[in-house]
């Protein structure tokens, strides 16, 4: 009897607790969806799940009215706490690409130029610059009085050293490949001599791509890729608005305002802390609690939508336009079935980009029809877009005499974030009539090995434009860049006409003429369909309302935050 009465009490108690838990946990559905621990791809050059290029459209849910709003006069001081899933290998951006290095790197090191919202260069460490009429040299005039964090003057020799270091070591070899030499007639003048006209060199002098590093620290005979001063507080010496005071690999980066920064009365912030947090859901909780000030790595669409519903947090797709993330389906053209352009065009016909953006990504991405994102001045909206539907695909195959039932196709993807895309593509392939399946691999390295080794048939991929097509676009299509490494020409695409167009565009200083060449390039690629372009995910970022002058420029968080201040 006693036991029975106790059981009843317990039942009532549990029911009450369940009700309380249900009432308190209103957002738990969102939280329990597809949040994942970061994949390998999160840590390398091109993340798969949370960032990217903002298209021309303003996404729903973006708190655009508040973006960049400035409340009152700037106030100096305060600590900005950022959380990021991205883990930098080290902090030397002259030899290491990627968001993870560039975010702290652009606080620690200055670059010659900044860029406005129209992708036009603006003064930074170079107070002025001049491109020679023949396009074969660029002269930089440096700010007088700029010093490194150890007090040594920043001179043209440091600029020359940084450029040649990046040219010889940075993974994006196209950035400075035409640099023949750098002359330094005086301490404040650097003349970059080019072997051929190279318009991309201006954007390549952005903060995230060309940090100015001290020659007196790094030019000591050691291999700069493994130099002990690439990370760690013992000997890291920067040129930017903040100096490194704490670095724990994969855990925390603490930076304090540099008092002798060359821009007077900047930075406003006293300190920036980047806390590496592998789980995006934890970051979202930090934003909700108000403990985290700023983030651009929120993970899944569910997390973004959840924060959009929070009136105390500003969520925006503004910023990072230069990154230009594109998610696509790429074919291995050495595969017998996929070497047939009719098969590739049929697959492009059947894929519904709107469905991917609106349903799978819940409106947090946009359809994209070429390999150059819509925010770029070189995007061509008139290139063939396909998307006519499954019936059109079937008709195209029938006209070409291809029997899809006789063809087996497997779709790879970067695990785990791109699985929904892969499953969708498999469904489309089956609808057309192919025998299709998803090829699941355990991790990013396995995927990278398969794709770079050409063992795949087709894969979902995610590649960044990196501002100028020479830097982020050419690498995928140039026939000379099929080098067996991920994020190069892994399709095996070889079209001499495209090679020629890219070569011409890469050397054309006139923007209109250059745009025309890239327009032709996009038309040609879309005819050949080595890749079906799917979506472009904006690089969503969230910040607390107290964050003023938030980093919403074309490089977003990969730009110096010397103008950011806190209103509380």
């Amino acid at each position: 009897m006693l036991l029975k009465r106790f059981g009843l009490r317990l039942l009532v108690l549990l029911s009450v607790l369940a009700l309380i838990a249900a009432a308190c946990g209103g957002d738990s559905d969102d939280e329990a969806t597809d949040d994942t621990t970061p994949t390998e791809a999160d840590d390398v050059e091109e993340s798969t799940d949370d960032e990217a290029d903002a298209g021309a459209e303003e996404p729903e849910g973006s708190d655009d009215a508040d973006v960049g709003a400035v409340d009152g006069e700037p106030v100096a001081g305060g600590t900005l706490l950022m959380q990021s899933t991205q883990v930098p290998r080290h902090l030397n951006g002259t030899v290491q690409s990627g968001y993870a290095t560039a975010v702290p790197g652009t606080q620690l090191n200055a670059s010659p130029l900044l860029f406005d919202e129209e992708f036009n260069p603006q003064p930074y460490l170079a107070e002025s610059w001049e491109v020679a009429e023949d396009g074969l040299s660029v002269t930089l005039n440096l700010v007088d009085g700029a010093v490194f964090h150890d007090g040594e003057a920043i001179t043209s020799e440091d600029v020359a050293f940084s450029i040649t270091t990046a040219r010889d070591n940075h993974p994006f070899q196209t950035m400075f490949a035409p640099v023949a030499s750098v002359d330094t007639p005086d301490d404040l003048t650097a003349i970059i001599n080019l072997s051929e006209p190279h318009p991309a060199i201006l954007l390549a002098m952005s903060p995230g791509l060309l940090p100015i590093i001290p020659e007196h620290v790094y030019n000591d005979g050691q291999d700069i890729k493994e130099h002990p001063c690439n990370a760690g507080t013992e000997c890291f010496v920067g040129s930017g608005p903040f100096q490194l005071v704490e670095y724990e690999a994969g855990s925390i980066i603490r930076m304090q305002a540099f008092e002798d920064f060359f821009i007077p009365e900047r930075p406003y912030l006293e300190e920036i802390i980047i806390e590496i947090t592998p789980d995006p859901a934890t970051i979202v909780l930090g934003m909700e609690n108000g403990t985290t000030d700023l983030t651009a790595t929120m993970g899944s669409a569910a997390n973004i939508l959840r924060l959009q519903d929070n009136e105390d947090v500003i969520v925006t797709a503004d910023g990072h336009e230069a990154i230009g993330q594109v998610q696509w389906l790429e074919f291995n053209l050495s595969d017998p079935a996929l070497s047939d352009v009719n098969v590739r065009q049929a697959i492009a016909d059947a894929i519904d980009r709107e469905f991917l953006a609106d349903v799978i990504d819940q409106g947090t991405t946009f359809p994209v029809s070429t390999g150059i994102v819509t925010a770029s001045p070189f995007h061509n909206p008139d290139a063939e877009q396909y998307g006519g539907g499954v019936e059109m695909a079937q008709q195209r195959l029938a006209d070409a005499g291809v029997d899809p039932a006789s063809i087996s196709l497997a779709v790879d993807y970067i695990p785990p974030a791109q699985l929904p895309y892969a499953e969708y593509v498999v469904q489309v392939l089956q609808d057309i009539g192919f025998d299709a399946s998803v090829n699941t691999v355990p991790d990013f390295p396995t995927w990278a090995a398969r794709v770079s080794g050409g063992e795949h048939q087709m894969t979902i991929n995610n590649v960044w434009n990196w501002g100028d097509p020479v830097i982020g676009v050419h690498r995928t299509y140039l026939s000379t860049n099929n080098v067996g490494v991920i994020w190069t020409n892994n399709t095996g695409y070889n079209n001499p006409e495209v090679d020629d167009l890219l070569t011409q565009a890469g050397a054309e200083f006139d923007r209109d003429a250059r745009a025309a060449l890239y327009a032709d390039f996009q038309v040609q690629v879309n005819e050949d369909v080595p890749i079906v372009f799917l979506t472009t995910p904006p690089f969503w970022q969230a910040y607390q309302p107290k964050v003023q002058n938030p980093p919403v420029g074309i490089w977003g968080h990969m730009s110096p935050m010397h103008d950011v201040w806190l209103s509380e």
Partner: protein, 325 residues
């Protein structure tokens, strides 16, 4: 003493076996480390891949790589991380202390509270509290550790905001050493509770069953007949025997506890070995993964060795008879 020396020698042999086995399994796993390393840099070409293979000795025969690795480990050199390009020993040293703190706190919490609950419920086995503890134990045992962590975060960190969401310390913290420790302690509550709850449930059940058995034994009846107080009988005479199975199981389960820490550290962004291992797996950073496996295996072996020692202290029969160990 001789027995313990033998156990130490056995432990060293076991660690060596772990090193060889781990290296073999990870080296034979699919995937080209050179491609991964090149990929981390963003790009490269076949010449770069070849350079990487030569630099890291990846093009050497497996046996050569194994002998070299074992030799380096014996000298205390665990190699450099493919990703961070830093010595693995430094990375592990940074992460070992947080893991020991987390696992140690969870273990002590689980044993102390679990045994107390077990004793309490064994003394009144049919009371409502005893049944409540049984239900609680069942629930605690059934809940996956990451799920418990998420629930605790939702309740204590998100809804009521009583405790921090994640991390080991407040990055913005400024204060003296004592305040710093309090800050760490505050961050430790939820992860240690999460990790400890599942073992608390087990230990309370185990000690309850053990205590019930011991309380029926002749020597306890004798103690009561001698007129000793119930508190002395239970906590001085019965508990010592009742706790032996708990110590045994705790030692055996330490490996599982480390595994649980991996999940907890990920959920709570606790900067320990578990998170380092998880990241290393995703990055195919073999030197770091091997180092973490070695460190955790050494910890488990050490704890088991300590368990043997403790076992001998609390159970004189083993000391005298040399019955097991």
């Amino acid at each position: 003493m001789r027995r313990i020396a033998v156990r130490i020698a056995q432990s060293l042999g076991l660690i060596l076996a772990v090193v060889v086995l781990n290296f073999t399994l990870i080296t034979l796993a699919p995937g080209d480390a050179a491609v991964v390393i090149a990929g981390e840099s963003g790009a490269g070409d076949p010449e770069i891949l070849e350079e990487i293979r030569q630099e890291y000795g990846l093009d050497d025969p497996f046996v050569v790589q194994l002998v070299r690795y074992v030799g380096n480990v014996v000298r205390g050199d665990l190699g450099d991380s493919y990703f961070f390009e830093e010595p693995v020993t430094g990375l592990i040293a940074d992460r070992l202390w947080p893991t020991i703190l987390l696992v140690g706190t969870a273990l002590i919490f689980a044993i102390v509270i679990g045994v107390l609950i077990g004793v309490f419920t064994a003394r009144r086995p049919e009371s409502p509290v005893s049944h409540g503890v049984t239900v609680f134990s069942l629930v605690g045992y059934s809940m996956p550790v990451f799920w418990t962590g998420l629930l605790l975060i939702i309740v204590f960190a998100s809804q009521f905001q009583l405790l921090p969401v994640s991390g080991m310390r407040d990055p913005r913290f400024e204060g003296n050493r004592v305040q710093a420790w309090l800050d760490v302690a505050q961050h430790l509550v939820l992860p240690a509770l999460t990790l400890g709850l599942i073992y608390l449930a087990q230990y309370s059940r185990l000690s309850r069953a053990s205590m019930l058995e011991v309380l029926q034994s002749d020597y306890v009846r004798t103690a009561r007949a001698k007129g000793l107080s119930e508190r002395i009988v239970v906590y001085k005479h019965a508990l010592r025997n009742a706790v032996i199975p708990v110590v045994t199981v705790a030692g055996l389960q330490f490996g599982a506890l480390i595994s649980g820490a991996l999940l907890v550290e990920t959920v709570f962004n606790w900067p320990g070995l578990g998170r380092l291992a998880a990241d290393a797996v995703f990055r195919r950073d073999a030197p770091v993964l091997l180092g973490v496996l070695l460190a955790s295996a050494t910890l488990v072996i050490l704890v088991n060795l300590l368990t043997d020692v403790v076992y001998r202290i609390i159970d004189p029969r083993i000391r005298v008879g040399g019955a097991s160990g």
